[in-house]
Point group: C3
């Protein structure tokens, strides 16, 4: 996707009134599927998923708050953030004092409309700028919300891109927030960009699964279906969120396992300076869907990748989180860096030396100089034999590919980046001296 295509995609997705269920969510999935051909699944309202129950679908048709004069204070037409998600229907005149408990704003961001939800507790409310709120005159107000709860379904959508092995990398994002850019649209859009890059490659080692669901309840529902299977074949995963924004580099939140393969790989890429990155420790206290994947019953190697992180910018969960704030270049850069990480990850695991008793005779394979003269190095016709680093890496890989050390360990011992080892690994595999563990 080029910049223009991305811009058009954002324009289509941004205005939709989305929530964790319903037409807005399905419509958004349909749009993103133009670029990432997902298959949509459903779980019926009322089904028990672990400790939770799939909620009914919320239908929202219209919502406004008017003063005595008929002037609109706020309305769904003005902003999809104006009404609390999952508000009950209401059609009522109230005095200002009666109304106030139903109004939400952010005092220190007086022009922003906050994003408020109440999925599991009946109620209703409006969200508006503090500058509007504070000037509301005494008097009576007309609160009108035309909403409905219906037995329907919860949806998620997925696609698996097969690789040379069944080992699965799960890339997940969510799509339930209305009219928020960095903390909503950036995730699914980068997911689509990563898909388009990966599907061009024919030599994928991992299979890659792309998943979009409503946050929290969606991943709980997904895990109720797929959790046990993921325990068996998931090699690594990342939740994609907040991947636009002005920050210089990606920010990775580690998995609960703390030193799983993806954690080690990303830490290594950061330390060797190959990909600029900051790293956050795992915590269940905040974050996104990784909180469910990393609950102790699953403890899956699911990290989270972001750029300008939730809670660290003013626009988080309010109307300042605009497409302008997000930007398109950061989305493209995020997708590129994520693909580099995944490329390294494919070589990060354990390999096995197929000739482990003494050194193999590398000379007859033209992998070692046959004449031990310093002249030789300069004169060799074989490019990689001119490069002592190549030979040293080769000897290290053979010696330490014993089923204990993974390739991150070996790259660290070599004091080179894992990416630099890839041609050496490929050469050893070609010579039948190495295979994947």
């Amino acid at each position: 996707m080029d910049v223009l295509t991305i811009k058009k995609l954002i324009d289509r997705l941004f205005p939709i009134v989305r929530s964790i269920t319903g037409d807005g969510f399905r419509q958004s999935l349909a749009i993103i599927s133009d670029y990432l051909p997902l298959e949509t699944k459903s779980i019926p309202s009322g089904e028990q998923v672990f400790d939770w129950t799939i909620p009914r679908e919320w239908v929202i048709r219209s919502a406004f708050l008017k003063d005595e004069t008929g002037r609109i204070v706020c309305s769904l037409e003005q902003s999809s953030l104006s009404v609390i998600s999952y508000s009950e229907p209401v059609d009522q005149w109230l005095a200002l004092d009666e109304l106030k408990p139903h109004l939400h704003f952010i005092e220190n961001l007086p022009d922003a409309i906050p994003y408020v939800t109440s999925y599991y507790k009946p109620g209703w409310g409006f969200c508006l700028p503090y500058n509007v709120y504070k000037k509301l005159p005494e008097g009576r107000y007309h609160a009108f919300i035309d909403s409905e709860f219906i037995d329907g379904e919860l949806n998620y959508a997925e696609l698996t891109l097969l690789g040379n092995s069944d080992n699965l990398v799960l890339l997940s994002s969510y799509l339930c927030h209305p009219s928020l850019a960095n903390n909503e649209l950036s995730g699914p859009i980068v997911l689509a960009l990563v898909y388009q890059l990966l599907q061009k490659r024919t030599d994928r080692y991992f299979s890659y699964r792309f998943l979009i669901n409503p946050e929290t309840i969606g991943s709980i529902a997904y895990l109720s279906r797929e959790g046990e299977s993921l325990k068996n074949n998931m090699a690594a995963g990342m939740v994609l969120t907040c991947l636009g924004g002005p920050s210089d580099c990606l920010s990775y939140k580690k998995t609960r396992q703390n030193c799983s393969l993806i954690d080690k790989t990303i830490e290594h890429l950061r330390c060797t300076g190959v990909i600029p990155l900051t790293i956050r420790e795992f915590t269940p206290v905040d974050g996104s869907d990784e909180r469910q994947y990393c609950s102790p019953g699953f403890n899956l190697p699911m990290g989270q990748i972001a750029r300008t992180v939730y809670g660290q910018y003013d626009g988080y969960h309010n109307s300042l989180d605009t497409p302008e704030f997000m930007g398109i270049e950061p989305l493209i850069k995020s997708a590129d860096d994520i693909c580099s990480i995944l490329h390294a990850l494919e070589y990060a695991g354990k390999f096995i030396n197929l000739s482990p008793y003494c050194e193999p005779q590398l000379g007859r394979r033209n992998l070692y100089p046959n004449v031990n003269s310093s002249n030789h190095w300069k004169d060799s016709s074989d490019v990689h034999l001119k490069d002592r680093t190549f030979l040293n890496s080769l000897l290290m890989i053979l010696n330490y590919s014993d089923g204990e050390n993974d390739m991150v360990d070996i790259a660290d011992r070599c004091e080179v980046s894992l990416l630099e080892l890839i041609p050496v690994i490929d050469k050893l595999i070609e010579n039948k001296l190495l295979k994947r563990a």
Copy 2:
């Protein structure tokens, strides 16, 4: 026990001529039992206990050293420290040079009478201040010790206060030194104080065993009876010794296991500043009965708690270790701090999240805000929901209560003290989301 009661108890115990066996020891047990209702046990003289043999009882009736003029140089009547414990009977006139090998003193503490024993090697001797020793004139001396060795028994005394589980905390002290305060009476007295505090609590998780024995041979004898059983049910333990004295804070000697639950708990309490403490590493080179509990065949999680530690004050093992040096306030403070440690220890172990697959739905249990608006936090009627620290701790406890992490680990992750987690743990247990592992 109030200050006056403690003072009277000291006055009764201090003058008694005690040794590792005999009437003095039994009489002392009877007195302490007025406050700590112990049951006395016995093992007959001559019984083999591991590599040792229970010695015969030592009966001491009278002892003095007189000069030619009949003037008393030292006598048992003057000080119970005057005669070497387990001295053989003697009634003999000797020249000063013959006498000198039988005299013990401390040259650099010239007014102190040392405490000397010779339980397992036949012999006799007197202990006296160096200032007296150095002025002894040439001439003949009358050494008289009316002692006897009889087939009797070795005694120890114990009491178990039951809790909600069979897991046992063993609190042990010794009572064999005569007329020494900090390094003798402080241990049993603090043991009695701790007993009185713990028996008031009805919600004890652990069972607590209180034990008093003669040092070294007593714990060896006790372990010959109870060692195998302790291997099965002992969660932790401490030897109580030297708990009076002027030092600012308690001093804990770690168990040989080095990171057993009680070691971790006390290290945590020290680091979080909840209880001022210094910590000593385990060593078999000096110390008290923990040397036996921590011998490699048992390796029990037995620490040692002290205040002004043996060997670190002038009065150690001599007549300067008086009730005045010991003080009563430090005894009370020691008992209070030990009870705080034990309270923390009851919550220090592993717990299990009963809803480990994804997060449980905390909102419907009123443990999580149902509306994700910053307004909500301020307005919640539920006290603990106003407190983000409470919720964060709750999420951490649920996520890490996986059978691997104990509550000290989790408190360290939360960067709060274990004591602050206790109400959160209780709330989760009440909601059936957590149980003890």
Copy 3:
């Protein structure tokens, strides 16, 4: 061996034209066997050893390079380094340009003749100083090498000195380089010196095996015969190389296991300052026969001991590596220090406390003061009871000899050198309180 004997041995060995096979190698083995009575073994040319094939024997009778005028540019008579080892026969006139690819020299050491081999790639060549090379006039040259390849054998030679146990320490060196001193003769000569020191001792715990082979192919051949057996009974080992030279102290390259018993012991001896040492990490990238022993299929605890290390001095692999550079005193010092290391190693393993339940009663064995008076320490007739360090070490050894800690761990805990513990260990064994694990 005294200095003169060593000097004569060097004079006999230095001029021999050696390679990895053939008469030169066998002749050298015969000479060294006057001091180290090795038994020579053979493996026939053509046999497969792991990934390698035993090469044919190289017979070299004569070699020279002459210019048009018949003047000798270089010849085997002048230096055994002049011809590339395993050169094919040649008798040919060439123009200077045709000749140059066959000439080897070291530009930045213009007077040195390099040491060059081409065991596994057919070819021929001469080695000469750069100062000679650069003045070669245009014209034609007569290259003459009278060599032959015959079906013969590869030889190695070994000797096992039995100890009290089957646990084997393998001391290996190589003897295939011609006319190089530090990086050739130092290894076998120190091996002979160590043999003569060890065979005088009657209380050897380990059995010691002495091995000399041609480098790389020799150890690969040896491992094809003995590798599986070494996996069972090899406690430790060292490759001896470059043990002459002016460096202040020995330099130890760790085994691939990184913390095997010999690694721990040598690290401990270095830290306690008992033997001055530098330590190198294991690497498969350079080194000697330990690369084969430490290949992942074997992973034997084989270190390498050197003094002035290959690659760290100008004369490495060229004619500057003379007997004068090597020196005789460093050889003797190396042998002495290696014997000290081996003595410590014999006590470095695990021991078991035979009285592990409580402390044993040391007093009745005269290992602990029977009277607890400070006077006693000074007056004891038993030397080791005057020494509190002895008693402390004894208590530490008993407490930690639990099958988990080895004696290096215990020495570190005691903060003394392992050598200081040896008399305490011997005393405990004599008292039947300790045995080897």
